[in-house]
Symmetry: D2
Subunit: 254 residues, 4 copies
Amino acid sequence: MRIDINADVGESYGLYKIGEDNELFQSITSANIACGFHAGDYNVMFSSVKLAAERGVAVGAHPGYQDIQGFGRRNIEMTPSEIYNCVVYQIGALKAFCDVNGISLQHVKPHGALYNKGASDAQTAKAIAEATYDAAPNAILFGLAGSQMLKQAKIAGLKTAAEAFADRCYTEDGYLTPRSNPQSVLTDRHLILEQVKNIVIHKKVRTLSGSWISLNAETICFHGDGENSAAITRFIRAELEKEGISVLSAGDMK
Amino acid sequence: MRIDINADVGESYGLYKIGEDNELFQSITSANIACGFHAGDYNVMFSSVKLAAERGVAVGAHPGYQDIQGFGRRNIEMTPSEIYNCVVYQIGALKAFCDVNGISLQHVKPHGALYNKGASDAQTAKAIAEATYDAAPNAILFGLAGSQMLKQAKIAGLKTAAEAFADRCYTEDGYLTPRSNPQSVLTDRHLILEQVKNIVIHKKVRTLSGSWISLNAETICFHGDGENSAAITRFIRAELEKEGISVLSAGDMK
Amino acid sequence: MRIDINADVGESYGLYKIGEDNELFQSITSANIACGFHAGDYNVMFSSVKLAAERGVAVGAHPGYQDIQGFGRRNIEMTPSEIYNCVVYQIGALKAFCDVNGISLQHVKPHGALYNKGASDAQTAKAIAEATYDAAPNAILFGLAGSQMLKQAKIAGLKTAAEAFADRCYTEDGYLTPRSNPQSVLTDRHLILEQVKNIVIHKKVRTLSGSWISLNAETICFHGDGENSAAITRFIRAELEKEGISVLSAGDMK
Amino acid sequence: MRIDINADVGESYGLYKIGEDNELFQSITSANIACGFHAGDYNVMFSSVKLAAERGVAVGAHPGYQDIQGFGRRNIEMTPSEIYNCVVYQIGALKAFCDVNGISLQHVKPHGALYNKGASDAQTAKAIAEATYDAAPNAILFGLAGSQMLKQAKIAGLKTAAEAFADRCYTEDGYLTPRSNPQSVLTDRHLILEQVKNIVIHKKVRTLSGSWISLNAETICFHGDGENSAAITRFIRAELEKEGISVLSAGDMK
């Protein structure tokens, strides 16, 4: 049994610091690096990719809406072709930092509101998938397990990795409970561990309403911006390894 | 005898239109396409690269300071490593639009204040040259004839094209007269033609003070944002061809 | 019979020029000046307010979503308190330019997507109305005739002016036909004149489906960014005055 | 003997948090609130002004260059009239938040690179002073003791407060040692206390080279973004009060 552990990193901006990237890099196998649209800037991107390369963590582009103030978490009305262009741009920018650091781009994972829109809206998913295929045909697209995103990625000819969330509460439809809901994020490490084990070992997750849904995940997302996020991720990884589960990057599985 | 004709294009932004790109593409052989920092956005980039590809015009990245309001024409204090990162980012973004349109990136030409700083400041020139080499080792770096930019590009291992300006008045040191000087830009097509012929045929240019300096240029820049810029460029190209001068892209000469 | 003629002006940005403000100022009585969020910048604001003051045109703040690339025409998810803050900010900024030019702020008119959201959504309308009342209690709020915006403005204690659009096609519900509809904007000056006369004289307007709805407008908006917009506005104003209709600013009527 | 204690606050941006504003408000008498250009946004401005009002801390506008990524700490080439417009805009925006919170704007203090440029460059200082006078004639302009800023503020007709810095090392000319110098910022609370006491009680300060220069300050700046800044400020204020020095806002002294 094996799983990839990913986290959003490189989300600092100028003087503004967010996340515990340095510590997180000790526990994750795939790094979703912000591309300067919803977070990050060219300096942060350079140092994040460099750090990932040094630590042997696989690198992915993490494109989002162009909205630093909103951290990419609010919808901005865009046509599919605008989304396509916006994703091509960000993948290209991040790929250049992979090039200058001598590594390959492993994956692409949309961020925040774009991730959620791509999960449910076929047109958005198609635009993201085609942008990824055209700009980085060998990249693995990370998308919510069971989502439009994965469906469209496969149609576009991409490799995919179905993603689950360690600390996000699920709706019965398999979507993430919106952050506006106070119960949307788990903070207790034991509850998080339980959810992760259910996902990795039993391929299921308990929803907000208490029911169980099945879930096939190849990569699990840990949030990089929460409190103690690095410590929790380290704890969970160690627990998984105690169970004999191999933690390795999505690219190493394909 | 041969020369490349280049122009800055793709400088529109959202609803804001600037330049006569569609007409210019009939006369130029190399297009410097803004990368969303000083002008342009991902939608403009996509359509500009596509148009260039359709017209057979070679495409270059045109990185500038991140300053839409100032159109990249004002200096922003940045360290060499910040400039390096900023140029890597923009080259990567533009290159992705080349990829999705099935063409190669021919060249890189810094824009505005960054161009001028790179012309005279060795540290800046070195940062731009290394960024270009690391992100696009096969790209030709366009720089002011006789400048630090070209010197550092050669040290970095890049192909280069020495550039002259069709309508900009030169100082005795071979720099461009600052735009703040009312005589900095030629607008009469016959004066522009005379300057271009002097540069291409006689390899010299008259300076603001009336003296002559020698100038070896492989590419000539026509401004895309002036009045009648497309008509002037078409006129000059036709006149050059009447003189038996071949107009072809820098990449086709190398 | 009397009417106010307003137009969106001050929408240039840095080197990017849009609109025929100088000509428009000869025909309009109220100027909606962009506040640097969806268009305009501090330099454009200064010169626009100064020009309005010199020409005796009444000045209003024209707040929009913070989105130069989208020109304020696309929705951005914001809570009512964020909208409140965003409108307070923009009114304050514009008011300062009124102060330094020695004039009063006559009115506030939301822009684009914010205008449309405020027309139909009570929470948004309430946030805009309260922001206006708190930041500029004497300002007249311009809102779509029959809209939530006007209703909430009255509840907040503001003076209001019901607005109609000279060249926008109406739905049967009295909203504006979305710009995505190719018939949403009238361009023939005679059709525009006919619509304006119907609104001003007969207090009704023909909808897209051909039916008539009644409409009570105190101010009519002419678009500043269309082709020949200044010429059309001048033409319509002259025609209205031939009919004996007084064209004067909303503030002069109250 | 009396002194005003000021600090830069309201410098968070969207999800990005910086500074210990809540704690700082217990020790400072004047708050310099970022205006959304170098830091802060409309939401942060609202809550910062509200918090200051509740705590009885006097509020000032803290205008800077429009550069969130650079935190207003790098020079951007601007003409005096552009600086004038940029400062008018920011003062207006902040003043609106004072209006909606029912308080007056006490002062204006330029930020970072704009502060430093205004300290030594007469044209910049004049532009800032005139913008302040025109937009907020009753505001007190805070400027470096002995600077062009204060000189031009007096010429413009403004009240002024000469400012000293608790933790910044001085050059022999009375300017701040640039942040690029590793010794530019004092971090030991006892060294800071010593510098503050020298300034407040003895009206002098020791420079980087060890010499003493005289300094007449009416307000002392404590940095809000350093480590333990709130604790250090509280400590120093308590020590000053033990010495019988009254700590009260600049406006209360005038």
